[in-house]
């Protein structure tokens, strides 16, 4: 118990001193193992973890999905998605913001990154909303929060990492994200309705597109549909593994990017390099987390946590609520991925011992990360928007996301209350 707690404090101290998170976890795990067992066994454990993580075919899924996301972002497939969504809802009050959220959901279906989704949608949707006189708060709030759908709607980089550290099936996890993704989109649309109801000037209606135009716009999103159906359909139809699906998705993304003239050969190298570096960062932090996790297994902390929680006699669902509340607080101050890698090895055994479904807990984890990504002051998507639209002050962006954070909290409550929303599809397909 004491060793485990000291370990967590050790990581926090190193991290605050700006040692990279991967190293903070790795060093603490190594020192902990050396003290609890022996220096030799700590050295063997560290080398085994690094070796086993590197030489593992199934982890090839990480670079390939990252690559797919980067290629489809460069292919600017977000443009057609936005045009199609706009043609259906653009003429309503707040319609351009709604189109942004719907387009983000569509883009999330071919890209597993919230940051990439927010970034690509900023380029497409912000100029339009600006043209129609949308308030900066609503425009940026819709993009920042819509972007987070990238990690909820499959594919999702965060889900892959969650599955690797908790040894869950990636396909099952992806299936679980679909209905919560639709729920999230719907709640974001409600948040926009609420915002324009409070202040009709915030989101004036755009021009109406006739039905012929709508059908034409819908036809233009075929590329996105094909990619989504082939990649996800392939996994669920049992035609190929998630790694193979990711390679097909990446190849498809490359095809669309080159075919549309958005990508020269020099750019292809840049995208590959960018994806490789992202992969390296993810692997480094994964190795650090695994080293720390093997130390944690030798401490009594996970068991002590279970006994500690049991001593309160709380209803299991209250435990989940406390964990989610703790996550929301932690992520408003710390980087989201690090929080997940640090805490999931600790909370996961507890959640499973309480009889909860690991896939359902994974969806809750994704939802709290989404909240973290748009929570002031350090939400990652807020920084992305701020960097791309520097003329809008960061405090305006903070103000803009507030209705969406409420929508997120409501969604979290619904998903906790009705696990079937997350588990219906995985149970049906697997």
């Amino acid at each position: 118990m004491i060793a485990g707690t000291l370990g967590i404090i050790g990581i926090l101290v190193l991290a605050i001193l700006r040692v990279p998170i991967a190293l903070s976890m790795g060093i603490t795990g190594f020192v902990g193992l050396a003290l609890l067992r022996s220096p030799n066994s700590a050295m063997a454990s560290v080398v085994n973890t690094v070796y086993d993580t590197g030489f593992q075919y199934s982890l090839a899924v990480i670079p390939l999905f990252v690559l797919m996301g980067n290629f489809v972002t460069r292919a600017r497939m977000s443009q057609e998605l936005y045009a199609a969504a706009y043609s259906f809802v653009g003429h309503r009050k707040g319609g351009l913001a709604m189109a942004t959220v719907v387009a983000c959901a569509g883009f999330g279906a071919i890209c597993g990154s919230a940051i990439a989704t927010a970034a690509t949608m900023t380029r497409v949707a912000h100029p339009e909303m600006k043209k129609y006189g949308y308030s900066d708060a609503l425009a940026t709030g819709a993009i920042a929060s819509g972007g987070t759908l990238g990690i909820l709607i499959p594919p999702s980089s965060l889900m892959i990492i969650y599955c690797i550290i908790t040894e869950q099936n990636i396909g099952k996890m992806f299936a679980a994200g679909l209905l919560p993704g639709i729920l999230a989109t719907f709640l974001y649309l409600l948040a926009i309705r609420y915002t324009v109801w409070r202040d009709p000037e915030a989101g004036p209606a755009g021009s109406r597109i006739p039905w012929m135009g709508r059908l034409a716009a819908l036809r233009d999103v075929w590329g996105v549909l094909v990619l989504f159906i082939v990649v996800m359909g392939g996994i669920y139809g049992g035609f190929f593994t998630s790694t193979e699906a990711a390679s097909i998705g990446a190849m498809g993304g490359l095809f669309f990017a080159v075919f549309r003239g958005k990508l020269g050969w020099r750019d292809v190298k840049d995208v590959l390099l960018e994806s490789a570096r992202t992969t390296a960062i993810l692997f480094a932090i994964l190795m650090g987390a695994l080293i720390f996790s093997s130390f944690l297994n030798f401490t009594e902390l996970p068991n002590a946590l279970e006994s500690f929680v049991a001593s309160f006699g709380l209803h299991p669902i209250m435990v989940i609520i406390v964990i989610c509340a703790l996550y929301v607080v932690l992520m408003s101050a710390l980087e989201e991925l690090s929080v997940i890698l640090l805490t999931v090895p600790l909370f996961f055994p507890l959640v499973v011992s309480l009889g909860f479904d690991p896939i359902w807990f994974g969806i809750l984890v994704v939802c709290v990360v989404e909240i973290g990504m748009i929570s002031p002051p350090v939400g990652m998507n807020l920084f992305v928007i701020n960097a791309m639209i520097p003329e809008v002050s960061i405090t305006t962006v903070w103000r803009g996301v507030i209705p969406f954070i409420w929508a997120d909290l409501l969604r979290l409550a619904i998903l906790i209350a009705f696990p079937a929303i997350s588990l219906f599809l995985p149970n049906l397909l697997f």
Binding site: G54, Q56, P63, A114, I248, K269, F283, S338, V369
Partner: protein
């Protein structure tokens, strides 16, 4: 020193980009031939695994050089320039020493794998060159952090103005 590292960076960039392209293409061809011709590429699984090792461990020093490993800015952003410099140097020093230690352990593992003569099941590819490569790349990463700490290398400039670069965080 900077020039040597710039050249090294260029070489490693080409290796890592080519390897990722190869992983994507090989897996794609494997699926396509399995689906269309009922004959998957022999040993594709093994080659992908080995290419993944090269990809990850070639990219790790590149991410170090670009200053992209995830770090917490909580205290850092509230401190003055001089203290930031000190914190950055100490963090790099600690990282460098720890990673050099890891490279030494990995070198020992590589020697053991060489002596054991372990090879893959289908294509009989020897593992040892890859493990030596991993040890060397980890050594390079440690060296980069040490040189950054001692200011023989300049830290990469932040590119926060281009949000696409923020994809480095992977979320």
């Amino acid at each position: 020193m900077t020039r040597i590292f710039a050249l090294l960076e260029e070489i490693l960039s080409w290796i890592t980009a080519s390897v990722l392209f190869a992983i994507m293409t090989l897996t794609f061809i494997d699926v396509a031939t399995r689906g269309l011709l009922q004959t998957p590429v022999t040993g594709a699984f093994e080659v992908t695994e080995l290419l993944l090792v090269v990809l990850v461990f070639t990219s790790i020093p590149l991410a170090s050089r670009a200053g992209q490993h995830i770090a917490v800015d909580l205290l850092y952003s509230f401190t003055g320039k001089r203290l930031q410099w000190l914190m950055g140097s100490l963090a790099d020093l600690l990282t460098g020493v720890a990673i050099l230690g890891l490279s030494w352990l990995m070198l020992n593992r590589a020697i053991r794998v060489y002596n054991d003569g372990v090879y893959t099941a289908v294509l009989n590819i020897r593992y040892w060159p890859f493990v030596f490569y991993v040890a060397f790349m980890i050594f390079l990463m440690g060296l980069i952090h040490l040189l950054l700490s001692l200011r023989f290398l300049q830290p990469a400039s932040a590119t926060a103005d281009d949000s696409d670069d923020k994809q480095e965080f992977g979320l």
